[in-house]
Amino acid sequence: MQSNLVLQNLLSAPVLFFFLGILGVLLGSDLELPTPLPKLFSLYLLLAIGFKGGMELAQSGLGSQVLLTIGAAVAMSLLVPLSSFLMLRTRLDTYNAAATAAAYGSISAVTFITAQSFLNVLAVEFDGFMVAALALMESPAIVVGVLLARLTAPRDEGEGETLQWREVLQEAFLNGSIFLLVGSLVIGFVVASFSPAGLEKMDPFTEKLFYGALCFFLLDMGIVAAQRLKDLRQAGSFLIAFAILAPLLHAAAGLAIARVLGLPQGDALLFMVLCASASYIAVPAAMRMTVPQANPSFYISSALGVTFPFNVVVGIPLYMLLVQRLIPSAP
């Protein structure tokens, strides 16, 4: 059964295309998705997942279970950066520790989507409102990351720079990918509530096409992740270890919370994946502007080069195994 889960994940089309991308880089192929095609797929996935999530949120309604789950997710996106910062600060300077902590408090939408696909293949159900949790976990982590950097930075370096809240909030809440995800969620909600005829017309675009587009994007993510591996030498073994232990730790915390909240199996897996994944889209873009002292190759290569492949390949089936053991299946 266990090896079955791992195999079912490894032999699925999205994960195989991810491997193909990695393999291409390792062998020295010149296969690449030229700019801005990866952005097209990234925007498409955010739009589609947001729209579908909003649609399902409208159908499920905003009950107390929903609000509790979302609240717990937001709480995790505030706490994880704090605990991560403490760990990272033992070896990294305050700027790199804060920026990396923000990445791990935030989420990876692609990891989440891959987990959804995995659940689909297993025919395990999950709720649409988990996308709302996804959407609301990015901004808090960014704000906490910036605060950590500013509050713990040596006085003299500030050069009289005051914390520019406007800039920080803009990066945290209006970052293009966050804005599109939240916006599409709201639109999906509105359309499902007020003009449901539109849902069916969106279906071929947001639903039917989704799996193939995910494969295509994961091909590119495999290429990019493998390229990042080269930077890892620079980042050092401490960061590599962190990039593998952090998702395990955060997934365990997520599992505990999911059990307390009484989430069904599918939602529990997604909750774990949200906790365990690290951002390499919104957070790097935000940190580059708000904590320019940090070295982007540190937080990008750990989040994208290690944690992302780890979650997609090993993490998701592993977390599912734990879910099957520790979360009662729906009656």
């Binding site: 700019t35 801005p36 990866p38 952005k39 797929f41 990234s42 970052n175 293009g176 990918s177 590119d220 290429i223 990019v224 390229q227 390499y280 889209i281 919104a282 790097p284 873009a285 580059r288 502007m289 320019p292 982007p296 190759s297 990008i300």
Partner: protein
């Protein structure tokens, strides 16, 4: 007149262009999608999908009198966010 070539991250290009306009320069040109290497390491386009972008190449042709103002407005941005700049001589075509 002078030709100024700036290389900096795409994410900062809007601020730098604002500074150039403030300096009173008669114009400027921006090329994005520039990759390269400098003291900050290698920059490529692979993270473009994340909004991080690559470098931009900003060119300003202006009279030499404008240089000090340009330096005082653009310099701090480049010290904060990274990037390099060079000056050379040119004439109108």
């Amino acid at each position: 007149m002078n030709r100024i070539d700036l290389f900096l991250s795409e994410r900062e290009v809007a601020r730098v262009c604002r500074a150039i306009r403030e300096s009173g320069a008669p114009g400027y040109s921006v090329m994005r999608h520039v990759t390269g290497m400098g003291v900050g390491g290698a920059i490529d386009e692979a993270m473009d999908f994340s909004g991080l972008g690559a470098n931009a190449h900003v060119i300003v042709f202006c009279e030499p009198e404008l240089l000090p103002k340009l330096r005082s407005l653009v310099g701090p941005l480049m010290r904060r966010y990274g990037g390099v700049g060079f000056v050379s001589q040119a004439e109108p075509f």
